[in-house]
Amino acid sequence: MSKKASARRTPASPPATPVAKETEGDVTEKVSRRELLRAQREAELKAATRKKRLNVGLGIVATVVVVSLVAWAVFTFKDSIGATNAIPPHANGDKSGIIVNPGKAQKNVPLFVIYQDYQCPGCKQFHTVFGTKLREAAEAGKIQLEYRTMNFLDTNLQNDASTRSAVAAACADNVGLYQGYYDALYDNQPAKEGAGFSDELLRVTIPTQLGMTGDKLTGFQKCYDTKATLQFINGTNDAAGRAGITGTPKYMYNGKDITNTLTAEPSSIDPYLGS
């Protein structure tokens, strides 16, 4: 295909001078020898060009493949290198999220899962409408409630606030304040998407509001400063992606996505809060 294409580039005009000169002497023999030579050189040239094109073409393809693979590997594995992997005490069985009401759910109650990202404005809206009802149902043991946290919005918003806030909330589970920290993050979510959370807010202001002091506060801050729960958070994000979650919030009732059945009316969640 490519050979044909390049052959077509050949100008149509014959070589200017040499042929015209061949009008005297032993013309026939000279011409046929010349033509033979010509054909030979033509073939050599074509072969050389084809080889050159093939080499360059393969070079381009190989470069694209290598660059893509390196980029993929760097972004995929950079976070897991040298990171500590602290699992929050109330992580669920497959480490895809944190159980909000550990030990409180009665037998055979529905599993209610929220996929969320602390920078997601929709998550804050849902939290504002349904947060209280969900918390009450979870406390009463009518549902088992799990928050599965994603940090994918960092990628789109080009910051690291989803990750830092998620790491902090997971650290708060160490001191038994996961739900409180979760609520505080949404209360403090900036009006402008992408403005993020400051370190001061995450490691001092919110913990103080929640009444963390002394060793608890020091332990929490150490967990946050060393990003001890980072691998766990990358894991919950990855698990959510593998579960087919490509946007937040997603409210799941016993594995079924009920997000679109919920309205701005708080009672629209009632059918899913157990009995």
């Binding site: 050949t10 100008p11 005009s13 040239l45 993929w72 990628t155 789109n156 490509t246």
Partner: protein
């Protein structure tokens, strides 16, 4: 291609006809769009991976790899088309990309997904109304680009390409013939 120019055309090249201009325009438009689309995404490859995953067509890890490779492939193919190198092959790859995009967007539309196509960066889930409004235009745009790619596959010879300059002559007629 049949050469329409007289044998005594000044440069040895046949005269540039309207088909050549169409070919050149096709090269520059298809190449330009691909290059820009790739360049806008290459600065945030993880986001590109998310955009591909949002279509929920490819397996999770495969979708991630496609997301990383796609912007790089688009940029390289775009550059090749703009400069006029391996035009037929580059146009074929560009055309196949368009076919894949058209299938992806149509399938997302048919399944009721509300996606930003992520064609020029961004991507992921958006409000349904916005997505539904955009799908037809995205498909129309990609059909147009596909037509350009088909033209170039059928007729890859275009003026102002660096093909011959880089790879040298393919015929003795291309070089000065001053023997004897």
């Amino acid at each position: 291609m049949p050469t329409s120019a007289p044998a005594n055309a000044p440069t040895g090249w046949r005269a540039i006809g309207w088909r050549d201009w169409v070919g050149l325009a096709a090269r520059l438009v298809l190449g330009g769009v691909l290059f820009v689309a790739g360049a806008l995404k290459v600065t945030n490859l993880p986001s590109s991976a998310l955009a591909v995953r949002a279509y929920k067509i490819l397996q999770y890890d495969l979708a991630g790899m496609v997301g990383y490779a796609l912007p790089i492939v688009e940029m390289v193919v775009g550059l090749l088309l703009i400069t006029g190198l391996f035009t037929r092959w580059s146009a074929a790859v560009g055309g196949l990309l368009m076919v894949a995009f058209i299938i992806g967007i149509s399938s997302a539309w048919a399944r009721g997904l509300s996606l930003d196509c992520g064609c020029f960066g961004g991507g992921g889930e958006v409000e349904l109304a916005r997505a539904i409004a955009a799908y037809p235009w995205e498909i129309a745009r990609d059909l147009g680009l596909l037509a350009l790619a088909v033209w170039l596959v059928v007729r890859p010879v275009t003026p102002y390409s660096v093909e011959t300059r880089l790879f040298g002559p393919t015929s003795i007629d291309d070089i000065d013939f001053d023997e004897e």
